[in-house]
């Protein structure tokens, strides 16, 4: 607009003395209408010209730095970064992380004993869950991958609820339909987990767009692993969130492994964070084992989402201490020493504990008492869950559609008649009548 007016003025007598150079200078403020020769004008990019033939070397950068607050001994490095959370909050953080840890140990064991069919632990990544969940509004919508149980625990999902889902019993919110660890909660704004990787990512972009239109002040957070970041859906999600301006935090748990595939076989560039700027997305890389760093970064990311309706990419660096799942034995592809190194030298729970103790908010007596209470709560919930019956087996036919269609009613009826006739071959007594 400015340039058009300027040009028109140039053509009239009024500004016939305007030098060409001035015209260029003025018009370079607005590259859209620039008809000068100093910038490329392609609709696809209006960057700069160069006459030097050179490729950008992929390793020209050291990589995006890792933001941290505490050292491995839980000491704040730069005091201005201490979130200065109240004792109650930090103690809760510690308790939730340790309770998650206990629940994981017991549930893993229960699978080994054949009590549940499958389980996935969160060892080593507790900091990523609790740090981020604590920084969100409880109404912010969570789309997870499968290793984010701590976010649910933080929000108040009970031990009973976790275990009911793992057992698929009659009190499982998911009605016994999915494998263990596929949690979901409407009340706690946690979308039910699905097994296909990365599918949650463009969904998170869409949900965030809806929130933006609803002007509800909320954001969406989408967790995914570095392995999942290779899926096409990850690319789709980031590009859509950027172009359509969706208030979503893409939180990558880069734990070094996708089952047996180490991150060096997953990508060649600067991790997942390196891709963010390429999509036009605000990006940060964070020490995922530092609860306060995760907290600060997530909070700041949320502020960007809420105030600018823009996506943020947050890559939390961490280490997967446990096996991928109960179907995996990671000694087949990594050394026990490597695991021990991370467990002993850089564990999110240990680092927070140092901080708690240094503040005088935790001690050996409290630790002992909590350990006992924790274990008791977990074991009791476990015992309760195990005793419960499975849901009525006709739940198999329900919720496929909003209303059961005729063909499913017929199939259900056929199976009911079959089960009646061959009852001794079906463990009907394990299911609610």
């Amino acid at each position: 607009m400015i340039v058009r007016r300027l040009l028109r003025s140039c053509l009239t007598s009024q500004f016939s003395e305007v030098p060409f150079a001035t015209l260029i200078k003025a018009s370079s403020i607005s590259t859209h209408d620039n008809l000068g020769e100093d910038r490329p004008q392609f609709p696809g990019s209006r960057s700069q010209w160069t006459e030097k033939l050179e490729f950008i070397q992929p390793d020209i950068y050291d990589g995006i730095p890792v933001y941290r607050v505490m050292n491995t001994k839980g000491q704040i490095i730069d005091q201005t970064q201490d979130p200065q959370l109240p004792e109650e909050t930090v103690v809760k953080m510690y308790k939730v992380m340790t309770q998650l840890n206990s629940m994981d140990r017991i549930m893993y064991e229960s699978q080994r004993q054949g009590r549940i069919s499958f389980y996935m632990t969160n060892f080593g990544e507790e900091g990523t869950h609790i740090g981020s969940a604590a920084a969100l509004n409880p109404k912010d919508l969570i789309f997870g991958q499968y290793r984010e149980a701590g976010t649910l625990l933080w929000r108040g999902f009970s031990l009973d609820q976790f275990m009911n889902q793992c057992y698929g019993n009659c009190e499982d919110l998911g009605k016994g339909r999915q494998m263990p660890v596929h949690y979901g909660s409407k009340d706690l704004n946690f979308v039910t987990i699905s097994s296909p990787l990365g599918t949650q990512m463009p969904q998170a972009s869409g949900a965030a767009y809806a929130f933006k239109r609803q002007k509800n002040g909320l954001c969406v957070i989408c967790y995914f692993g570095e392995g999942t970041s290779s899926e096409g859906d990850a690319h789709a999600a980031l590009n859509f969130a950027a172009t359509l301006e969706c208030p979503v935090i893409f939180f990558c748990r880069n734990n070094g492994y996708a089952i047996s595939t180490p991150s060096r076989e997953q990508y060649k560039g600067d991790g997942v964070a390196g891709r963010g700027p390429a999509y036009g997305i605000h990006t940060i890389r964070v020490d995922g084992n530092d609860v306060f760093a995760v907290y600060n970064a997530t909070k700041a990311a949320r502020d960007i989402c809420a105030s600018e309706n823009k996506p943020v990419l947050l890559e939390a660096m961490t280490y997967r201490l446990g096996h991928h799942s109960t179907s995996d034995d990671s000694t087949a592809y990594r050394s026990v020493d490597e695991v021990r190194y991370w467990d002993e030298r850089d564990h999110p729970i240990a680092r927070l504990k140092y901080y708690l103790v240094s503040k005088g908010w935790w001690d050996d007596a409290k630790e002992k008492a909590w350990k006992e209470q924790n274990k008791k709560e977990v074991l009791q919930a476990f015992a309760r869950a195990e005793k419960k019956l499975k849901p009525n087996w006709t739940e198999l036919f329900k919720d496929v559609y909003h209303e059961m269609p005729q063909h499913l009613r017929e199939q259900m009826k056929q199976m009911q008649e079959h089960v009646k006739k061959y009852e001794e071959h079906y463990q009907v007594k394990s299911f609610v009548k």
């Binding site: 919110l173 979901g184 699905s194 767009y209 809806a210 239109r213 496929v400």
Partner: protein
């Protein structure tokens, strides 16, 4: 002389698909007449109507949906300027950029984004530019949308998602602009699949699809976008999903199809009456999933002879499902083996299209086989 010209003009006005129209106005020798004759129907509804073709009927339905539901959004590739088939024309100007918008070129993204919108309770109306390109979205549609409610124990669902996409033969579309992918998705419990045969059906079915509490794939036969013209009610109206239509009646043979093929079958019924003295029930399935078995079974129990025709390839096409279900439910009523006239088990060819599609002569021949068995 004048009246001859007048009558020719009238013919043109009423049937833009007539061979005369094509000869007079086509410049390319390759421009072929369509393989079907679209016969407009009347809507059984009181109230004002307007002449609309299929894309105008779709546009009208979208306009009504956007007007009445403030949460509704329409998105996909190129929908802002009106869409490559003009189905979204005028909508962005009317409802704004935040409600009618282009997405990047990524079908899996469009589907996933739509699911996410729908899970928050917003009405998401996505467009996939061609049914031939819906396959990258297969994972999102079948593994996610279809299973969202079931797997969450009804805590979460994406029933407010509708995905529209043009399908089927258009005369020159070849491998990647002619496919009919309904069979792939018919195998996925949790989805609804709806295929309109006309503008009146399209508007009512699309409004029902948008408003139903299940995710819907709404496949629009693209060759009908311009060539199918009817007096469509201007009001907001909905038509039932999962209910097949009997568009012609007869006691001798049952003809089942959907989309464009319904018009082929209507003509086949006329040919059968004229040349064989045989009267046919012509059934438009309307919905592929769930499909209206009762209407088909009742007809076959009456006629004993069934022909299913579809453009999609023969093997594992949706005709296979219909045939299997019919032989199980109506075995003793059958007087002849069930006939399927379909696209051949090849990719959809370009110059050989007239040999590939289940045209009226192949269908007529099958009817002949049925009555002579």
């Amino acid at each position: 002389m004048k009246s001859k010209i007048m009558s020719k003009l009238l013919m043109l006005k009423s049937n833009p698909c007539s061979p005369m129209f094509i000869r007079l106005f086509s410049k390319s020798p390759q421009c072929m007449a369509t393989h079907f004759k679209f016969q407009p129907e009347t809507a059984h509804l009181d109230g004002e109507t307007a002449k609309m073709n299929l894309f105008q009927a779709v546009n009208n339905a979208l306009d009504i949906a956007l007007a009445k539901d403030p949460s509704a959004v329409v998105f996909g590739e190129d929908v802002s300027f009106g869409g490559v088939f003009r189905c979204t024309i005028g909508l962005q100007e009317k409802y704004g950029k935040d409600r009618v918008f282009n997405t990047p070129l990524c079908e899996q993204g469009i589907a996933g984004f739509g699911i996410g919108l729908a899970t928050t309770g917003a009405t998401a109306i996505a467009e996939i530019q061609f049914g031939d390109y819906i396959l990258p979205a297969f994972d999102q549609i079948c593994n996610e949308a279809a299973k969202f409610r079931y797997r969450s124990g009804n805590l979460w669902e994406c029933g407010k998602l509708t995905i529209r996409s043009p399908i089927s033969a258009v005369g020159h579309g070849a491998l990647y602009h002619s496919q009919s992918p309904e069979a792939f998705f018919s195998h996925c419990p949790g989805l609804r699949i709806v295929i309109p045969r006309s503008p009146i059906k399209a508007k009512g079915l699309l409004l029902s699809s948008i408003r139903t509490a299940d995710p819907v794939l709404f496949f629009e036969p693209k060759v009908l976008y311009r060539s199918a013209v009817e007096e469509v009610p201007v009001q907001d109206y909905m038509l039932p999903l999962s209910k097949a239509d009997i568009v012609a009646e007869g006691d001798d043979v049952t003809l089942v199809g959907w989309g464009t093929q319904v018009h082929v079958l209507k003509e086949v019924a006329e040919m059968a009456q004229e040349k064989l003295g045989v009267k046919c029930d012509v059934i438009d399935l309307v919905s592929i999933l769930p499909w209206d078995k009762d209407t088909v079974f009742n007809s076959v129990k009456k006629t004993g002879r069934l022909l299913i025709a579809h453009e999609a390839p023969l093997t594992s096409g949706f005709g296979a499902e219909v045939a299997a279900a019919v032989q199980e439910a109506c075995f003793l009523s059958l007087e002849a083996p069930i006939q399927r006239v379909c696209g051949f088990d090849t990719p959809f060819p370009h110059v050989f299209e007239p040999f590939y599609i289940p045209d009226k002569w192949r269908c007529f021949d099958a009817v002949n086989k049925l009555v002579r068995f």
